[in-house]
Structure formats: structure tokens, C-alpha cells
Amino acid sequence: MAEKNADTQLDLLQGTLDLLILKAVSLGPLHGYGVLLRIQQISGQSLVIQQGSLYPALYRLEHQGAITSDWGESENNRRAKFYRLTAAGRMRLEEETDKWNRMAGIMGVILLTEPEGV
């Protein structure tokens, strides 16, 4: 995966990993590797996630009560830790999505501004 075509891939913006994780687990319980796969799958392989930074982020979100986890059987019959979104996490996801959209809109407007004739 690391040696995918570098032109089509984007590095993650600061602070967006949490939002992505929240979104990924909002679609259904996932274990850590599953979160990674889900994000890559949705983004069409165009986002690079440092695999190592995924787990500290998951632990941080769980620590903050946005997600919760329990141990269960994975698809290959291994014990795995599955993460789910909590009520607080859902609220946070909504809020952060909102904020992201507003930000994106504003950025879009600013970047599309043409020089005006004097």
C-alpha cells in the first residue's frame, strides 16, 4: 500500500483522522484494521493513513468517550477489539461534520475568488 502511486494520494490534514475514524465506526462496529480498510475503501485508496497513528487515535477517542470497545470474534475467528460509536460520539461526529462542511465551504469560496476589475 505504501508504494501506491504518489500523485493520486493525499496526506491527511491535521486533526482529520479523528473525524474519519468516527465516520468509519458510525457505519458499524469495526476492529482497528477494519477502520483502516474502511477509510481506504471509502476514499478510493486516495488517503494515506500512517498505520501507527491509528491506534493512539482510537485510544484517545475511547478515552474521551466518543467510541467504546469490546472484544469479539473477527471474520477469521480471532479475538479482536471492536469499536462502536457512543451517543456522545455521534453528537461529536455531527458537530465536527458540520464544522468541516462550513470550513470547506468557506475555503471553497475564498479560493474561487477572481481578481475584480478596478
Binding site: M1, A2, H31, G32, Y33, Q50, Q51, G52, S53, Y55, P56, A57, Y59, R60, E62, H63, Q64, G65, A66, S74, N76, R78, R79, A80, K81, A88, M91, R92, E95
Partner: protein, 928 residues
């Protein structure tokens, strides 16, 4: 709203998760391990599926995931475990460091233990005396009634209760007339129901033995309004107090119940005699309840206020409950929600004015007392006037001692920090941040502080009753036990934390400031930095200054005590036994009481070992005061307000018994009897004041008294003698003008004290005294038996406690300061070994080197002492009212304090100086 909710839920979740992670550390670790292994496995499997060989796939997967150790570290940080782990490491490291230098640890712990222990002890006493509230529900709502008026013209002339001067010629009191209480209560719309009470010492006969008890006469609603529920039986209820002189019931205090009834439940219904009036016990108070009067001394017997005319009849006057002119009861009420104190006070003030005009005859020039609503949560809170300033002085002193201890430890740590410079430089070179070093040093000092705090709390707990015992008078029962509760504990913990930060901060910053390169390059020998030595010197100078303040303060109190001990009271105090006998009016009506005292005097005179005996109403140096109008015949037409003077009612042997010389005329004698001419003696001050340029012998003066039908009349008394001055109520006040009347010539006297001059040890005649008293008046206890010397000792009690404590603090301060001086000089000598070696090698004499070191320390001491003396000049001015016979800037005390400090500082630097002089030049230079 949503934000806040999110934030709150996040905080709750975080602390819960942190706690789980800390408490189930092993599980967290193994889960992290498993999760990362899982990830690796999944990734490898996917790579194998996309065509990699097994080994290649495993390798790529490991590269993609990166270092699991780093990830786990990050994951722990996410859980908030990192600072926790680091703290653990800091603590372990700190323990190792402290154990490595046991001498330093011991000195620091001991000085902190002493300083924190002293602070905890003083604070626990101050808290008990000045901050504790009555143990009743919602004590903060209680309001105490008091009034203020001008000293000259207030309409209230007759007070039985407290009476204090305010600045500006005003006076204040919490005493009200009973009718004022009734009318205020009826008209009150601004507070809850008002209740009244009066604390008084009483005689109680329980199981046939008489004893002095603290009685509290209370209104019928007292228990209801205070919200106190007796643990046995019931409280005083309105029916008990409904009719005057009926309601012979009593509720007893827990202490009395324990002492006299062994906490037996059968106490209810038993009859005790209080001032010879039989009262049925109907209830027992809870242990914590002292009374509405104060927090410190629990009352023993509570009885209805309307019993006053029977329980404590006042000789020769209208009984207080019927007398609107006598102001004596204390009134309290609870604040009402929605009515602020100013509104309540204004309304009650109007009411009080109406009550005064309605119940008393008010002279046009008199002013009406103004209502002053006080905080009642601590009862009458009389101890504030007594103890607020002494406690402030003591708290300041112990605070200074603590500061000194802090300076000492900071100093030691700074010196040690220089030695640890290499270690710290290595740690910084290995990547420790400055914040991390700072924290490490702070953790170490907080650990030291915690050690000191733990031992200090223990010392404070063990010593909690030391100070109250010091105040105790040997012949009185004291119930004052200092409670060591959570507030004292919180105070100690706070002080500990503060000291830890205080003495740790400077060394910590010094450590974090080190330059890594220099620290590594230079050897410990040369790594000394001018700055930290300077910092250390400043600290030692500060210590010397603080000690100077404390030593001078202690010196002032010592001089005060010496001054008081040297006071000539004007009579012989040795071999003089004092006691009180308080006959009750019900049993000994007017006339009978005098007869009783006469018989007692005669009987006591026959007891072996008694040289002379006399009764008197006022015992000297015992805070007893009696004043009454004194109008010489010559001033009768002057139309001046007759002036009251201090007086005493005594027996005929009074002057010889006490050894007070008669300077003119004669003393009382056999010829002065109940039926003969009324005679009096005055002292020299009174003769000077009221009979200047006249011979007072043979002159007459008028006193107001009562005839048999209780009408107020003037009685004429002829002066037959003038005696020397004596001190009166205390040691501090100069002898006041005073006159003496003969008790056998009074209509009635009530309670009297006895002064008994003995030829042997005063205590040894006590059994004989008890025997004759038992024969004549079996119901009357001999109360307050003590010697005049003990009484005078007691009058100096506060000064003595003060001298003990402040000298203790002074010595502690000296010890700490000398350790400081020794430490800094020894350190300085060690740093300069090379230089000294060179000086000696170049021909300096050892004496010169010693002189050099001593000069250096004298400079330090001189500056510190000068600063301390200036501070003492400023601070000791606040002590003025507590001193006697000495100015707060007394030059001798100042000089002595300065000399002591200089001597101690020089003595402390003598050893380092000698060591410097003894340096072997060869050794010192080879050290390089």
C-alpha cells in the same frame, strides 16, 4: 448547551477511563499487545493474498505499521498514563535520592516536622477559639443582640453582663432587660422567634455534695429555636418558663451527666438542688452542645429563666426579671430568609428605642441605646477580645518559623543542587526537557514536605492539648479539649504543599537553568556558580533577619513577664490562702449571711496554722471589680455628678491580714460593730483625688444603700484611716483610688471570699478549714480554693504562655538559622579550598584565613540582623497593648536580640573558619 454537555461527558469519560487504565494496568498492556499483533496478522494476510511471499509480506507489514513500542507509548499517552508513569519514576528516583543523603533528609524532615507541627498546634487552638461555631443546626443564621451608646450618657445605667468600650467614647453590651426581651420578642417581625439566656455560676448539690457548676437560665423557646434535641428526656419547653418562679426543672449537660451520674438513664426524674432550689432533671443534652453562650465551655445545668428570683436572687434590690432598669439577659434570634441584616437591625433599633422609653425613666440628656445586630454563630464570642490579638501574634510567629525552615531547606537544596549539576546535565543531554527536570526537583521537595507534614500532623495531634493546659488554672476544672478535625488536617496539608513548593521552587529553577555543556565539561569542583552561592547567601541573610524578629519579640514578652513579676502589689502575697463561700439568700436572708460569715471567721481563726483571717468581697489581682458612688460631704454642694470609685467590703482584720500599712488614722477594729458609727478607710490615691489639701480623717462621705423597706437612701460613712495603695483587679493597671467598708456594717453581703494568712504551707490547713466549714454550713462548698500567689500566677498566665511559646519559637529560629549559617559557610569554604590553599602557600597566616572567613560571615550576619532589627521595629509596634513596663522599641531588648544573633552566627561559622585555617596547602593544590 450541547458544547457543555459534550465537554462534561468527555471529562467524565476521561477520568473514568484513566482510572480504569491505572487500576487494570496489566489488562490494558496485554490488550494493546494483542491489538497490534492482530493488526499485523491481518495486514500480513492481506499482503499474502495480493501476491507477496510469506516472509516478504511479514516484513512489509512490520515496516508499514512501524515500531510497536512507539505506538504503545503513544497509546498510553492517549489514555493519560504517561504523566502517571513518569510521576512513578520521579517518585522512585526521589526516594533513592533522599535515601542516598540521610543526613540531609533527616535535618530537613526534623525542621519541617517542628515547624509544621507548631503551625498545626497553634492553628488548631486558634480555630477552636476563634472560628468554631455553636454545634446547633444552621448556626450561621443566629444573630446576637447587642446595643451601643455613649459612655457618658447612655440611658442604661445598670448592667449585669458584658460591657466593653469602643473607640470614640462609645460602649457596647449584649445585656438587655427582661422586659426589653419580652417586648422585642412580641414586636419582632424581622427575625425568627427570639430567645433569651443568661450564663451564671451556680452551686449545685448532687448526691449530697455541693459543687460549683455553670448554669444557663433559658427562655422556654430556647431549645425549639436552637433546634437542639436532648439525647435523653426533653428540653426546656415554653410551659416550664410560662410563670415566674414556677417550673422547677433542669436539663443537664452531657459532661455533668457523665461525671455525676455515670451516664445512667435513670437520671430523669432525679432532683438536684441548684442554689438550694430543688429542680427535677427532665433531660440530658447531646455531647457536642455547649450552650448558646459560647463554644468552649459547656453549661452543666439549663433551667427556665423565670426561676431567676429563686435561683439567683439579687440581694437588696428588685429582682432582675421584674426590673426594667437592670440589663442582663442575652437575646438571640435566627435570620429570616429575604430579610437582610441591615433591614432587621433598623427595624429592631426603632423597636428598642420605644421599649427603652416605655419601660425606663429616661433623663433628657440621656441617649437611647442603638441596636447592633451581631453574628451569633459563636455565641457571645467574648474570647475574641481576649484571644484575637495573641492568636494573631502566635500565628505570625509560627508562620515565620515555617518560613525559616523553608529557607533552610531551600538553602541546603541549592547547595546540593550544585553538587548534582553533573547528574542533571547528563539527564538533560539524554533528552530530558527542562520541564521534566523542574518537575523532578519539585517532586523531590514535595516528598520532603510530605514527610515533614506527616510527622508534623502527628506532632500537632499529640500536642493539641498542650496549649489549653498551659492556660488552665490549677484550681479550676477545664473542659477545653482541642479537636483535631478535618479543617486542621486540611490546613496542615495546605501548609505542607505550600512549603514544598516554596522551598523547592528556587532549587528547581536553578536546576532547570543549568547549561548542559558547561555542566558536562566542568568538574564538580569548579562548577560552582557565583549565582547559586549568592542565592544561598540571600537566603541565610533572610533567615538571620527572621530570627532577629522572633528573638526580639520573645525578648519583649520575657521583659513583660519579668516586669509583671516585679510589680509591687502593695500587700504580702505569700502564705495567703483564698477561697469563696457563697451562701444562698433563700437559706441565709439579709443579716443571716453576715452572721454566717462572722461565725466562719471566728471558726477559721481557731484552725491550727491560721495566723489571721478576713473576709472580703473583692479578691485582688483576680479581675474582680466593684464600684459604687462615693460622695464626700465637702463635694455635696458642688452639683457635680457623684463619681463612682472602686471599693471593697472587708472584715476588721483585713489590713493586718494582707499586710497593708495604715498611713494615717486607724484601721477597722473591735469597736466598729453593726450598731456603732459606720466607718470607712480610703487609700492614698483616693485621699489625693477627692481630699486634696485636706486631712480626710474624720470627713464623711455618702454611699447609696437600702433601708429595711428596700428604699434607696444615702448612708453616711466616716473616714477613720488612710491605707497604702494596692493593685486592684490586675497587675497591669496602676493602683486605683479605692475605699473600704466593714462587712458587719452592711445590710447584707451574700458571697464573700476569705483571705487566710497561714504560718505553714497553705495547702496543709485545708482539711481543717473544710472541717469547720462543714460544721457551720454543710451545704456550702469551699469554692475556688487557691493561694494568692497562684492567683497572681494565673493573672500572668497569658504572658507566661506567650513567653514559653515565643521563646520556643525563638530558640527554634536560632537553631535553624545557625544550621543555615554553618551550611553556607562550610559550603563556601569547601568551594574555596583551592584559593585558600594558594593563599596559605603564598604565606598567609592561618589566623588571617580564619579572619577572612569570619569577616565574610559577619557581613552576612550584620546585614541580616540589621534588616531584622528594622522589621522588628515595625512589627513589634503592633504588640504595644500586650506589653507591660516596656516600649515596643526598647533599646536594651533590641541590643540583646542583635547581640544574640551575631554571636550565634559567628559561633556557627567558627567551625568552617577553623577548617579553612587548617587547610594543608599541599593537599588543597594536589586536589586540582
Amino acid at each position: 448547551m450541547k458544547r457543555l454537555h459534550l465537554l462534561l461527558s468527555r471529562m467524565v469519560a476521561a477520568s473514568r477511563s484513566w482510572f480504569l487504565a491505572v487500576s487494570q494496568r496489566n489488562r490494558v498492556e496485554s490488550e494493546m499487545e494483542a491489538e497490534l499483533a492482530n493488526h499485523l496478522e491481518n495486514l500480513t494476510a492481506d499482503l499474502v493474498r495480493s501476491g507477496y511471499s510469506k516472509t516478504e509480506a511479514a516484513r512489509c507489514a512490520r515496516i508499514a505499521l512501524g515500531s510497536t513500542a512507539v505506538h504503545k507509548f503513544e497509546m498510553r499517552s492517549s489514555l493519560g498514563l504517561r504523566w502517571w508513569d513518569e510521576l512513578g519514576a520521579d517518585l522512585r528516583y526521589g526516594v533513592r535520592i533522599l535515601r542516598k543523603s540521610p543526613g540531609f533528609t533527616a535535618i530537613a524532615t526534623i525542621s519541617l516536622t517542628l515547624a509544621i507541627g507548631a503551625n498545626a498546634t497553634i492553628f488548631s487552638v486558634a480555630k477552636q477559639l476563634l472560628y468554631d461555631r455553636l454545634s446547633v443546626p444552621h448556626a450561621a443564621d443566629l444573630r446576637l443582640f447587642s446595643w451601643t451608646g455613649t459612655e457618658e450618657h447612655v440611658a442604661v445605667h445598670s448592667i449585669w453582663g458584658d460591657y466593653d468600650r469602643l473607640p470614640g467614647g462609645r460602649v457596647t453590651s449584649t445585656a438587655f432587660s427582661y422586659s426589653a426581651y419580652q417586648q422585642l420578642r412580641a414586636g419582632n417581625r424581622v427575625l425568627g422567634d427570639l430567645f433569651a439566656f443568661k450564663r451564671e455560676s451556680m452551686n449545685a448539690t448532687i448526691h449530697g455534695t455541693a459543687q460549683r457548676v455553670r448554669g444557663e437560665s433559658v427562655s422556654g423557646n430556647y431549645y425549639a429555636v436552637l433546634g437542639v434535641q436532648p439525647i435523653l428526656g426533653r428540653g426546656i419547653i415554653p410551659e416550664d418558663d410560662a410563670k415566674p418562679e414556677q417550673g422547677a426543672v433542669a436539663v443537664i449537660g452531657y459532661g455533668l451527666w457523665e461525671r455525676e451520674f455515670g451516664r445512667s438513664p435513670t437520671v430523669l426524674g432525679q432532683v438536684i438542688r441548684v442554689n438550694e432550689v430543688p429542680l427535677t432533671i427532665v433531660g440530658v443534652n447531646p455531647r457536642e452542645f455547649t450552650s448558646a453562650n459560647d463554644v468552649q465551655t459547656p453549661a452543666d445545668v439549663f433551667l427556665p429563666l423565670n426561676m431567676q428570683p429563686l435561683i439567683s436572687p439579687k440581694p437588696g434590690r428588685v429582682q432582675p426579671v421584674y426590673d426594667p432598669n437592670l440589663w442582663w439577659v442575652n437575646i438571640m434570634g435566627r435570620a429570616r430568609p429575604g430579610v437582610d441584616d441591615r433591614t432587621a437591625q433598623a427595624s429592631l433599633d426603632t423597636q428598642l428605642a420605644a421599649v427603652v422609653r416605655g419601660t425606663m425613666t429616661v433623663d433628657p440628656k440621656d441617649d437611647i441605646p442603638r441596636m447592633d445586630l451581631r453574628d451569633g454563630s459563636r455565641g457571645l464570642f467574648e474570647q475574641r477580645a481576649m484571644f484575637a490579638r495573641p492568636m494573631a501574634v502566635l500565628m505570625t510567629s509560627v508562620g515565620l518559623v515555617l518560613l525559616l525552615a523553608c529557607a533552610n531547606i531551600a538553602n541546603l537544596m541549592l547547595a546540593r543542587g550544585t553538587r548534582r549539576q553533573r547528574e542533571i546535565s547528563v539527564r538533560m543531554a539524554l533528552g530530558a526537557g527542562r520541564a521534566r527536570i523542574l518537575r523532578q526537583m519539585l517532586v523531590e521537595s514535595l516528598m520532603l514536605a510530605a514527610l515533614g507534614g506527616a510527622f508534623g500532623s502527628l506532632a500537632g495531634y499529640l500536642g493539641r492539648n498542650v496549649i489549653p493546659r498551659m492556660f488552665e488554672m490549677s484550681w479550676q476544672r477545664s473542659d477545653l479539649d482541642v479537636h483535631f478535625d478535618w479543617r486542621v488536617f486540611a490546613f496542615t496539608a495546605g501548609v505542607t504543599l505550600l512549603t514544598g513548593v516554596l522551598f523547592g521552587l528556587a532549587p528547581a529553577f536553578a536546576a532547570a537553568r543549568y547549561d548542559v555543556n558547561r555542566g558536562l565539561k566542568e568538574t564538580t569542583q569548579t562548577a560552582s556558580r557565583r549565582r547559586s552561592v549568592l542565592g544561598g547567601r540571600a537566603l541565610v541573610g533572610f533567615q538571620i533577619a527572621l530570627s532577629t524578629v522572633l528573638v526580639i519579640g520573645a525578648g519583649l514578652f520575657l521583659r513583660t513577664l519579668v516586669g509583671l513579676s516585679a510589680v509591687d502589689v502593695g500587700f504580702r502575697t505569700d502564705h495567703l490562702l483564698l477561697m469563696e463561700i457563697n451562701p444562698q439568700r433563700t437559706q441565709y436572708p439579709p443579716g443571716k449571711d453576715i452572721e454566717l460569715h462572722q461565725r466562719l471567721v471566728e471558726a477559721i481563726a481557731t484552725v491550727p496554722g491560721v495566723e489571721a483571717v478576713t473576709p472580703s468581697q473583692v479578691v485582688y489581682i483576680a479581675d474582680n471589680r466593684m464600684r459604687r458612688d462615693f460622695l464626700p460631704e465637702s463635694e455635696q454642694n458642688l452639683h457635680r455628678k457623684s463619681e463612682a470609685e472602686f471599693y471593697n467590703v472587708v472584715g476588721e482584720n483585713f489590713f493586718p491580714t494582707l499586710g497593708i500599712p495604715i498611713v494615717a488614722g486607724r484601721g477597722f477594729g473591735q469597736q466598729d460593730t453593726a450598731t456603732s458609727l459606720k466607718v470607712g478607710v480610703i487609700n492614698e490615691s483616693l485621699a489625693r483625688k477627692r481630699f486634696s489639701n485636706q486631712n480626710p480623717i474624720g470627713k464623711r462621705f455618702a454611699i447609696s444603700t437600702q433601708d429595711r423597706d428596700r428604699h434607696s437612701v444615702h448612708a453616711w460613712v466616716e473616714i477613720v484611716g488612710v491605707c497604702k495603695d494596692t493593685r486592684y483587679s490586675n497587675l497591669r493597671t496602676e493602683p486605683p483610688p479605692q475605699f473600704f467598708l466593714l462587712f458587719t456594717q452592711q445590710p447584707e453581703v451574700g458571697a464573700m471570699s476569705y483571705e487566710i494568712r497561714t504560718t505553714m504551707k497553705p495547702e496543709s490547713i485545708l482539711p481543717g478549714l473544710r472541717r469547720v466549714a462543714q460544721q457551720i454550713a454543710p451545704d456550702l462548698p469551699l469554692a475556688n480554693v487557691r493561694t494568692q500567689d497562684q492567683q497572681i500566677e494565673a493573672a500572668m498566665q497569658q504572658e507566661r504562655v506567650f513567653v514559653t511559646l515565643t521563646s520556643g519559637f525563638g530558640v527554634l529560629a536560632l537553631a535553624l538559622a545557625s544550621v543555615g549559617v554553618y551550611g553556607i559557610m562550610a559550603y563556601s569554604v569547601a568551594q574555596r579550598t583551592n584559593e585558600i590553599g594558594i593563599r596559605l602557600a603564598l604565606g598567609a597566616l592561618p589566623g588571617q584565613v580564619r579572619g577572612m572567613i569570619l569577616r565574610e560571615s559577619s557581613w552576612l550576619a550584620g546585614l541580616g540582623v540589621a534588616a531584622g532589627a528594622i522589621a522588628a521595629l515595625v512589627l513589634c509596634r503592633l504588640l504595644r497593648s500586650m506589653l507591660y513596663g516596656i516600649r515596643p522599641d526598647d533599646p536594651a531588648t533590641m541590643a540583646a536580640g542583635v547581640a544574640i544573633l551575631l554571636a550565634v552566627a559567628l559561633a556557627a561559622s567558627w567551625i568552617p573558619a577553623r577548617r579553612a585555617a587548617g587547610v594543608e596547602p599541599f593537599e588543597a593544590l594536589r586536589h586540582e
